[in-house]
């Protein structure tokens, strides 16, 4: 058994927990084909006022992780172990009633597709009022007043009138603003944003990211930002967790990750995206192959079948042994057998990144 599970804060041996702290969180689902290990040992810590980006592709476990933090998995369908502390409450073991009191109050969530995430049969206002009244005896008029002022705060013009409109009469950007208003109406301390701008156009995306940053400062929120878009990460995150095959493969401060990526999967992600600043004729360097099946993970390193650098590691360790998350630098860990020197030099070659001093 590897001792990879300790989170940064508990590792120090202190009793003080971070506002949000995951410790060896595992989520698996029993299916007809076998057990899907969607999240396999995720640990990180996040304080209020900071943004943690979880980056990965479909099947990396990033969305499953975020829903586990909200306690949204049905306990019947999902087997969850480890810990996810939100403000001292362990979501994994908390009783349903306590979870419900936390959700929408201390922690809130926004989703990728605001149209399908809002109920089509209720007005936006009614859905906001419902969120208020779910957490306390608030008179309807008072709840409605709060709904209007929140809609106004997130930049919906004519909020007093539009509060009675249905979601489908809003534009995509306005719908996401309404979702944000609904999530923040009870002033939560933790916001989980699951691909909040993926369905939006770039100009709208820029506005929404800006709005989220403003509101974060205003409410001193911790934000978990789930995304596949490295540009969104570069723009908004303080810390980054890169996930692959249900596990964390690299984590660190955002500048560290972008300047000194230390794991071949992170390199692959970076070189797959066309670089607007680089020469246009430059060929993309995709990651070959397909993401792994979460039922039959490869032996050894989970990224091994798609990794172009395994020959740099002696004795075929990548094929037989699961690497641990090991420190690259202060607060920067990577799950890779390459030596520190190899990580530096190969990264420059793989991504064209240069170390920023």
């Amino acid at each position: 058994m590897t001792a990879q599970s300790t989170g940064p804060a508990t590792a120090a041996g202190t009793t003080k927990r971070a506002f949000l702290e995951l410790d060896d969180l595992k989520v698996s689902f029993q299916t007809e084909d076998g057990v899907v290990r969607a999240v396999d040992g995720v640990s990180f810590a996040l304080e209020r006022g900071r943004t943690m980006a979880i980056v990965g592709e479909s099947g990396s476990g990033k969305s499953v992780t975020s829903q586990a933090i909200m306690g949204l998995h049905s306990r019947r369908a999902a087997k969850i172990t480890g810990h996810a502390w939100v403000d001292g409450v362990d979501i994994v073991t908390a009783p349903d009633a306590e979870l419900r009191a936390l959700r929408g109050q201390r922690m809130a969530m926004i989703f990728q597709d605001p149209l399908s995430s809002l109920h089509p049969f209720y007005t936006v206002g009614k859905q906001l009022v419902e969120a208020v009244q779910a957490h306390g005896e608030v008179p309807k008029a008072e709840a409605r007043r709060r709904a209007v002022s929140m809609l106004d705060r997130v930049g919906i013009p004519n909020a007093a009138r539009r509060v009675d409109d249905y979601p489908h009469s809003f534009s995509g950007g306005m719908r996401q603003r309404a979702m944000i208003a609904m999530a923040l109406i009870n002033n939560p301390a933790l916001l989980i944003a699951d691909e909040p701008t993926t369905a939006l156009d770039v100009t709208v995306q820029a506005q929404i990211l800006e709005l989220i940053r403003e509101l974060q400062a205003e409410y001193n929120m911790a934000i978990v930002l789930i995304t596949h878009d490295l540009g969104v990460v570069a723009e908004s995150a303080d810390d980054v967790t890169v996930m692959y095959g249900g596990r964390v493969v690299e984590r660190g401060g955002v500048d560290e990750i972008f300047s000194r990526p230390s794991m071949p999967y992170t390199w692959g992600l970076m070189s797959s995206v066309p670089d607007m600043e680089a020469d246009r004729g430059k060929r993309l360097e995709p990651i070959p192959g397909q993401p792994p099946s979460l039922i039959n993970l490869p032996k050894g390193c989970v990224f091994r079948p798609r990794c172009a650098y395994a020959q740099h590691v002696p004795d075929g360790r990548c094929d037989t042994e699961r690497p641990d998350l090991t420190p690259v630098d202060d607060g920067h860990d990577a799950r890779c057998f390459l030596t520190l020197d190899q990580k530096r030099t190969l990264a420059v070659k793989a991504t064209g990144t240069e170390e920023v001093a």
């Binding site: 989703f111 995430s117 109920h119 049969f121 419902e130 969120a131 779910a134 957490h135």
Partner: protein
């Protein structure tokens, strides 16, 4: 929105007119001669001919149809100025049954309340059982309760109505004497007796229908429970009850309301088997009796009324769509 209602109303009127023409034509091309049926076995051809003229059956079909329609709105008088006793048929006149010596409208208005009580009672019963059962099954998806509910529903759904009705009749009434023998008592006259005699007919109809609605509701709920907005509702911290009823069930209601409206409309046109078994003088039994007697005016009238119920039910369902789904209202 108003345009939508007006349009649907217009469509409804057009359908009713088309329907009445079709029914009228259908019954006039039947081999049975309505004039022949106006008098008994010892009829002479002379009398038949005389009756034919009296009833206007010698006139062209279009004229017969206009007379018929006029009768519905203004009433008509049979044998007018024929030297025989005049028969008055006040509006809405759907014809006159010579074999029962009564206007068709009167026969139908006597039968409709019976069928209405039968239909409404069983409707409430099956909707309550069916939707609740479906919701419970969907919330326990894959567990034994779901499997039990679904298989019970399947078995009950496949049992024919006459079988369920007869079994209930034999077991509950004949064998154990738990309820009085079937007959019809109007609720205004003797409510406890009305209830006792209606209970089994209600249950009989509700059995198969509830089974169908368990399955329909379950399918709908399973689908809507997987929607993104259900996840949002949970993320807001709503209780499971609010998530299930206010969000999931509400969103899955459209097909359930459609089926329910049409089923009710269909049932109001007569529950032939159940009315026969339980001796209820409803529209279904009137229809059967008139077919056995070849009482053409009654058959025509019952067909028209039953079809009208279905068309009205359709219209009501369309209106309910607008209540349920704001997207329909606005588009």
């Amino acid at each position: 929105m108003l345009g939508f209602v007006v349009k649907r109303l217009g469509a409804m009127v057009v359908m009713l007119v088309g329907l009445s023409i079709t029914v009228f034509l259908l019954f006039s091309v039947l081999p049975a001669d309505p004039a022949r049926l106006t008098c008994g076995k010892s009829c002479t051809p002379d009398v038949v001919q005389a009756n034919r003229v009296r009833l206007g059956l010698d006139k062209p079909l279009t004229e017969q149809y206009t007379t018929y329609v006029k009768g519905i709105f203004a009433g008509r008088t049979y044998n007018e100025g024929q030297g025989v006793a005049e028969i008055d048929c006040p509006a809405p006149c759907l014809g006159y049954s010579f074999s029962q010596q009564k206007p068709v409208t009167e026969l139908i208005t006597e039968a409709v309340p019976v069928t209405m009580w039968l239909a409404l009672g069983s409707f409430v019963l099956w909707m309550a059982i069916g939707v609740t059962g479906g919701v419970i099954a969907s919330l326990n998806r894959g567990r034994w309760l779901d499997v039990a509910l679904q298989s019970t529903a399947l078995v009950l759904y496949s049992l024919p109505t006459f079988f369920v009705g007869l079994i209930m009749l034999i077991v509950v009434i004949v064998q154990f004497g738990l309820l009085p023998y079937p007959d019809y008592y109007p609720p205004t006259q003797d409510f406890p007796k009305f209830f006792d005699t209606m209970l089994l007919p209600w249950l009989t109809i509700a059995t198969a229908s509830a089974a169908f609605y368990v399955r329909l509701t379950r399918t709908q709920m399973v689908e809507t429970l997987g929607e993104d907005y259900i996840r949002t509702a949970r993320a807001k911290g709503l209780t499971e009850r609010a998530v299930t009823v206010k969000h999931a069930l509400r969103a899955g209601l459209t097909p359930i309301v459609t089926a329910a409206g049409l089923d009710l409309g269909l049932l109001l046109g007569g529950a032939i088997i159940v009315e026969q078994i339980f001796n209820l003088p409803g529209v279904g039994r009137l229809a059967v009796g008139s077919v056995i007697d070849s009482d053409l005016p009654v058959i025509t009238g019952v067909t028209l009324v039953a079809a009208t119920f279905i068309i009205i039910a359709n219209f009501v369902v369309d209106l309910l769509y607008m209540v349920i789904d704001p997207r329909v209202r606005l588009s």
